[in-house]
Symmetry: C2
Subunit: 151 residues, 2 copies
DNA sequence: ATCAAATGTCTTAGCGGCTAAGATGTTTGG
DNA sequence: CCAAACATCTTAGCCGCTAAGACATTTGAT
């Protein structure tokens, strides 16, 4: 670790930064293909990655948008058929945002391709190497999450 | 490769997606801390990662913004002291956007922390493992770039 | 039970950034 | 030398965002 040449760190930093920029671009492309704005796609992604349906307010918190903006986001997503509003029967003030299951396919298209890319990449590694990589990804993701939260 | 259990792919997909969402969030935080919009920070990032100074038009191409929007972006970045306009002496129609070196420090703060995180993560791996990880990052970045370009 | 305060979402006004189109200034080629 | 191409800037109009407050529902204190 202390013996790590600075160039290694340089290269890793470069990869991270490149990935970072590519990711932002990728999301923009995905959104475009889905006929959504980047904001709308981001919120849909949040709703899809959550365990259960999110409330409008939770989406506002997670996305950093105002509640008013989220109303507009859900309006557009609902009109486009990606989600639907369901009033929470236990607390009728809340609006649950359910992702329409059928339309997960449309939306899956770009992610299918991303998955194919991943398979192609992983094909270049044997089981032991995959374990190392997964350990790295796990650690990196956790560390990055902490970093993002208190940045 | 054919023997790869589906769960591995699932987990890797999940990591990618999580990284992806975290990255978008991270950029938003960085921008906020720098007093910039996400758009402005994205363009500044482009300018910083380029070899030499970019022209306004090139920034428009790379960012996907209109030339008019880029004029506004550069105005704001210049007013904030992050870049300055320099007319290209060889073609005075062009405007070169030079990143102000002194202010790389301000801007470096969040990236410094990200770098620290990276060092911490890499510390958990020995040299052989780092080589595997770097091979993965290299391949993944290249593949992802191709994917983003023709998505 | 009742009602004030808290909570969750929606509505509205105003602002700012984006696009598209065209203006301005510069270069290129015939 | 001038017309066409090129690079950037300007402007008008649109759309999404924020902030503030309206509305509906729930909670908690009395």
């Amino acid at each position: 670790m202390f013996g790590m040449e600075p160039e290694v760190l340089e290269r890793f930093t470069w990869y991270m930064r490149e990935q970072s920029a590519l990711t932002v671009m990728f999301h923009a492309r995905v959104a475009e293909q889905m006929g959504l704005s980047a904001t709308d796609e981001k919120c849909l992604d949040l709703a899809m990655r959550a365990d259960g349906p999110l409330t409008a307010g939770r989406i506002a918190d997670l996305s950093g948008l105002s509640t008013g903006a989220v109303t507009g986001v859900i309006d557009r997503l609902e009109r486009a058929g990606y989600v639907r509003r369901v009033r929470d029967p236990h607390d009728r003030r809340k609006v649950l945002v359910e992702v329409t299951p059928g339309d997960l396919d449309k939306l899956g298209a770009p992610f299918e391709k991303a998955r194919d890319s991943l398979v192609e990449v992983l094909g270049h590694f044997d089981d032991d190497e995959l374990q190392v990589i997964e350990r790295y990804l796990k650690l990196q993701t956790e560390t990055f999450r902490r970093r993002v939260i208190d940045t």
